[in-house]
């Protein structure tokens, strides 16, 4: 075999051989290495070599392809095509008569139908499509001959519910094929042992370290003058000339943005600044039509594009060799993410990976300096796998009930063999089982309710409509109802969220795929548009835009500030931001590591308290709710609060009794166990979290694509569900899950506790400021606000006002006309 390789000039790396030997010995494991270092072939050649050893006589022959042996799971269906291409090459080279196909949400119905008859030898697919396969009545026959499952980009999947969905599928496949070998491919993580354990459900496995990463260089585009550089914001267009110059330097550049809206804006701005580049620059994000994205990816591969403005949609996947320049607009918010994006450049031999950050406001310069030091010292974020999400389990139970049915005890063992559910209690299992069969304790009295039915101990789905609806909604990624955008009588451009379209009227203009469009009409979940002339239009916003600052980067920022306070400015970025920090020191102060800085400010809006723990946005949300809650116990008061990665603003119409609150233990970790849930109940975080849970658990249903009439009478918002459950079924475990997810994922409660312990020991420095300090300013202008009140609703409402309809802008009859109504909005609150 080795000789065969040598003849073809292939020299396997040591780590690849290690994987092949381990696979042959029946082992599973996790391969971690930077992208473009041969991870794919390390995994892929293992089952091929196995087959060649088993069937030497068939090599190079035209024989019938073997049945399904390898499942290759990839997180993004956009990656499936590239993966398929790179897997196909060695099959051809080696004369292995395997069939290789893709199956994702994009697969055509012709191919699907063929695959219904017979699956290929190797199938490239996504977690959702695997679940769909599991829901087929003949799932076991189809998947019973598997030798290997490869989970590509496991680091990307494992932190989310799709990771759990994958774990459950793996447990099922292992049960059918006890000798199944599972191999994960991962980028470098801070907790590889946990990643391995989650993949293998805690079984022993091998951790294989691949080729080391290329050296990474991090630098920043610096503003010429800090005087005019903004203190807040997220667009960063001030630095457009420098960005255009940087693009000009290279051959082919990727410009990463943090949100899709930002990508649309930057694409337009670069084109306006350099109209000669029309046709050479392109836009790539997850809401663009597949065809548009394919075109862009091909262009990148062939080196025909000077610049692509993109989002995380191009974070993963095979490399685009011609790319020699990567720019990052705004803070990357995490060290691993920055390294990943940097790694998309520098594929020429001997080249280094270089990423140039483009700060969108002054303080992001500190983040760049912090990210560089963190990267140099190898501080990469860990990713925590999810624990026991009952919504995913409920969905899986219906899937398995469809896929041949299940018996309770057997499936419980299987579920407990996963990492996510290894400590699932009997009570939790019974609850979920009851939930999918009878709808839970609250529905005992309603015999007409039936989703999964039990017959002689076997749980199945008897109703064809329920089955169809479940298959339609398999998937754990939250997405709002999406509306297709299409030219009248022409091509599809992509999708926008329904809520965005709902705010537009025919004739209104908006931007998508870098084009200015005019809305013609909305029909059948499609927004029909035509090209518009002119300069500007609304930019769609998509959910899930903002990434929080990671723990590691947050800590690194605190270190930089600590140095700045001591007068150490030892990088170009810190030098550049120096005038702003000196202003902070003059108007207020730069906190010492052992300080908690609190600024008080009186403005037209009311009384502001600014606190700066520098613990990252997620922890700040929890701290803000906790502080507001504790102060509001002292007297009736209403707070609205804003948070960012550095601090918290509490705003109230009346002055908050701060000194009294500090004396009463505002920062004390004592009583935290009771105070945190209480403060969470007082804000709406859990209600928002419930949105995703309700969808995954099958409560929300958005109608079948293409069906002309949406199931109107079955539509309700998740907020409404939350209220009805909270009122009539308060013990519902999905509600409790929402609370737990807020605590664990959103607020990182253990980190919250540690943060509070640190703050309790810190020296509180209260500074009255005459105007918002540079640190306070971004918080003050943030419009995303939570509310917490200990006043009576009616008393509070009495001092409020209703805003007038802006008649001049949106002409319409007095009071809304018929046909506009019956929109369920998420905003309604219980009276």
């Amino acid at each position: 075999m080795r000789a065969w390789f040598a003849a073809r000039n292939w020299t396997p790396f040591d780590f690849q051989r290690e994987v092949w030997d381990a696979y042959r010995a029946g082992e599973s494991g996790l391969i971690h290495a930077a992208t473009g270092t041969g991870k794919t072939y390390a995994a892929w050649m293992a089952p091929i070599l196995e087959w060649m050893e088993e069937h030497p006589e068939k090599i190079g022959k035209r024989t019938a392809a073997p049945p399904l042996r390898v499942l290759w799971i990839t997180p993004l269906r956009a990656l499936a095509a590239d993966t398929e291409a790179s897997l196909r090459a060695p099959l051809r080279e080696l004369g292995v008569p395997w069939t290789l196909e893709r199956r994702t949400g994009d697969t055509s119905s012709t191919v699907r139908n063929r695959q219904r008859e017979r699956l290929p030898t190797a199938l490239v697919t996504t977690p959702e499509s695997v679940s769909l396969l599991l829901s087929r009545p003949d799932a076991r026959e189809l998947l019973g001959g598997l030798r290997m499952v490869v989970v590509d980009e496991w680091h990307e999947l494992m932190g989310g519910k799709r990771g759990v969905q994958t774990e459950l599928a793996l447990a099922r496949l292992r049960r059918w094929n006890p000798d199944l070998r599972t191999w994960g491919l991962s980028a470098t993580l801070g907790n590889l042992d946990t990643a391995l354990a989650a993949l293998l459900g805690g079984r022993a496995g091998r951790l294989v370290r691949g080729a080391g990463p290329k050296p990474i260089r991090v630098d920043a585009v610096l503003p010429e003058s800090m005087e005019r550089f903004p203190w807040a914001g997220h667009l960063g267009l001030k630095l457009l000339p420098q960005v255009v110059a940087a693009i000009e330097e290279g051959r082919s550049a990727l410009v990463f943005t943090n949100t899709r809206s930002q990508a649309e804006i930057w694409y337009q701005a670069i084109l306006d600044a350099h109209p000669g580049w029309a046709g050479e620059i392109a836009l790539h994000h997850g809401s663009l039509d597949r065809k548009v994205r394919d075109w862009v990816e091909d262009g990148l591969r062939q080196g025909g594009l000077r610049c692509v403005v993109c989002t995380s949609s191009l974070d993963l996947g095979v490399d685009f060799a011609p790319v020699d320049r990567v720019l990052q607009i705004g803070s990357p918010k995490g060290i691993a993410r920055l390294a990943q994006r940097a790694g998309r450049s520098g594929h020429q031999p001997g080249a280094e990976s270089r990423v140039t950050c483009v700060p969108t406001h002054a303080f992001e310069l500190i983040e760049v300096a912090a990210a560089r030091t963190a990267l140099e010292s190898g501080r990469i974020e860990p990713r925590a796998p999810r624990r026991k999400p009952l919504d995913v389990l409920a969905q899986h139970l219906v899937t398995v009930a469809l896929g041949g049915g299940f018996r309770s005890a057997g499936l419980l063992d299987e579920v407990r063999s996963t990492w996510a559910y290894h400590d699932l209690t009997d009570a939790e299992w019974d609850w979920v089982l009851d939930f999918v069969t009878r709808g839970g304790p609250a529905l005992r009295a309603y015999p007409e309710y039936r989703r999964v039915a039990e017959k002689d101990g076997l749980h199945v789905v008897p109703d064809a409509a329920v089955a169809r609806r479940h298959r339609m909604s398999i998937g754990t990624i939250t997405s709002d109802a999406e509306v297709q955008v299409q030219y009248k009588g022409g091509a599809r451009l992509g999708t926008v969220e329904e809520s965005f379209v709902a705010r537009l009227r025919p004739g209104d203009r908006f931007v998508l795929a870098g084009r200015l469009l005019e809305l013609d009409s909305v029909r059948d979940m499609t927004a029909w548009v035509r090209k518009a002339k002119g300069k500007s239009g609304a930019i769609p916003r998509w959910m899930g835009g903002r990434m929080p600052l990671s723990t590691e980067l947050g800590a690194a920022v605190r270190d930089r500030l600590e140095e700045a306070r001591r007068g150490v400015f030892d990088s170009p970025e810190m030098d550049a931001v120096r005038p702003i920090l000196e202003l902070q020191a003059r108007w207020s102060e730069i906190p010492e590591a052992g300080d908690l800085l609190i600024e008080r400010l009186r403005s037209r809006e009311g009384h502001h308290l600014f606190l700066y723990p520098f613990e990252g946005r997620l922890v700040h949300e929890g701290l803000a709710a906790l502080f507001a809650w504790r102060i509001s116990r002292l007297r009736p008061i209403t707070f609205t609060f804003a948070v960012n990665d550095y601090g918290i603003e509490l705003l109230s119409p009346d002055p908050a009794p701060l000194d009294e609150a500090l004396a009463a233990g505002l920062l004390s970790p004592a009583g935290l166990v009771d105070d945190i849930p209480a403060s969470l109940n007082a804000v709406e975080m859990a209600k928002r979290r419930f949105r995703e849970i309700a969808r995954v658990a099958g409560l929300l249903f958005q109608g079948f694509p293409g069906s002309r009439k949406p199931a109107r009478h079955l539509q309700a918002s998740s907020g409404l569900f939350y209220e009805v459950f909270a009122q009539y079924d308060p013990d519902n475990l999905l509600l409790r899950q929402a609370h737990r997810e807020v605590l664990e994922q959103q607020l990182e409660s253990s980190r919250l506790g540690r943060a509070l312990a640190r703050l309790a020991e810190s020296r509180v420095r209260i500074v009255g400021v005459a105007r918002p300090s540079p640190l306070a300013f971004p918080l003050m202008v943030d419009r995303m606000r939570e509310k917490l009140s200990s006043e009576k609703l009616a008393d509070r409402v009495r001092r409020m006002q209703a805003q007038l309809e802006k008649a001049a802008l949106t002409p319409r009859p007095p009071l809304p006309s018929p046909g506009e109504g019956e929109k369920e909005t998420r905003r309604r609150r219980k009276a």
Binding site: E448, L714, R799, Q803, L815, P818, T825, A831
Partner: protein, 218 residues
């Protein structure tokens, strides 16, 4: 606490139960009850907890008894969907009807009623299509103007966004009174709402817990 206002020369009271009382005729007016909505969800295997129908009926009884209303006028969407006419739901409504046997009930049909069908005859509802004229009022389900009177309508489930000092905001179900027509809040608890911004000259009253609060517009 009820809030009394003058409307087209008649005295009416706005009730925190989400109802309006036309005092002279002893008529309680409610819109969009949407009974059986949770049952319709359950029939489609979406697990809604029970209790929304009985809560609505309880609230309706409370408003009727407290005001000694002689007549109930429903501004449409009494039933949510045909699939929501589950036996349990129907039995609960029948029992409620027995409890208010002397009550005269008039239903101005709404779009949902057309899909769900009229209530059973033995409940003795008088069902009419919109508009139903009783000067000085015209009762409709869908908003719209009438020459025959000041319109009281439902359908929209109006909720009004409010703003206050310290960047407070709140969105609450509301009664809105314009020059020629009024919108009533949805009576049903499991209904959601559509955001409506008032126009200059509108009178707005929001439902805040057990109170009806007059809101300044501007």
């Amino acid at each position: 606490m009820d809030l009394r206002i003058d409307l087209a020369g008649e005295a009416v009271a706005l009730l925190p139960e989400r109802a309006l009382l036309w005092e002279r005729t002893g008529t309680l007016v409610v819109a969009d009850v949407h009974l059986g909505k949770a049952a319709a969800f359950r029939a489609a295997a979406i697990p809604m907890p029970g209790g929304t129908t009985s809560e609505a009926l309880r609230r309706l009884s409370a408003a009727l008894e407290r005001t000694c209303a002689r007549r109930l006028l429903l501004l449409g969407d009494f039933f949510h969907a045909r699939s929501g006419r589950a036996s349990r739901t129907l039995a609960a409504i029948a029992a409620w009807r027995d409890r208010h046997a002397g009550l005269e009930i008039l239903l101005v049909r709404g779009n949902h009623d057309r899909g769900a069908g009229d209530p059973p005859d033995e409940w003795r509802f008088r069902c009419v299509d919109e508009p139903h004229l009783e000067p000085p009022f015209a009762f409709r389900h869908h908003p719209g103007e009438e020459d025959g009177g000041y319109v009281l309508a439902g359908h929209l489930h109006p909720v009004v966004p409010l703003a206050g000092a310290g960047r407070q905001s709140e969105t609450l179900p509301a009664f809105l009174f314009g020059e020629r027509q009024a919108l009533l809040p949805a009576f049903g608890g499991f209904t959601g709402g559509a955001r409506v911004r008032p126009r200059a000259g509108d009178r707005v009253y929001v439902l805040a817990g057990d109170e009806v609060v007059a809101i300044e517009v501007g």
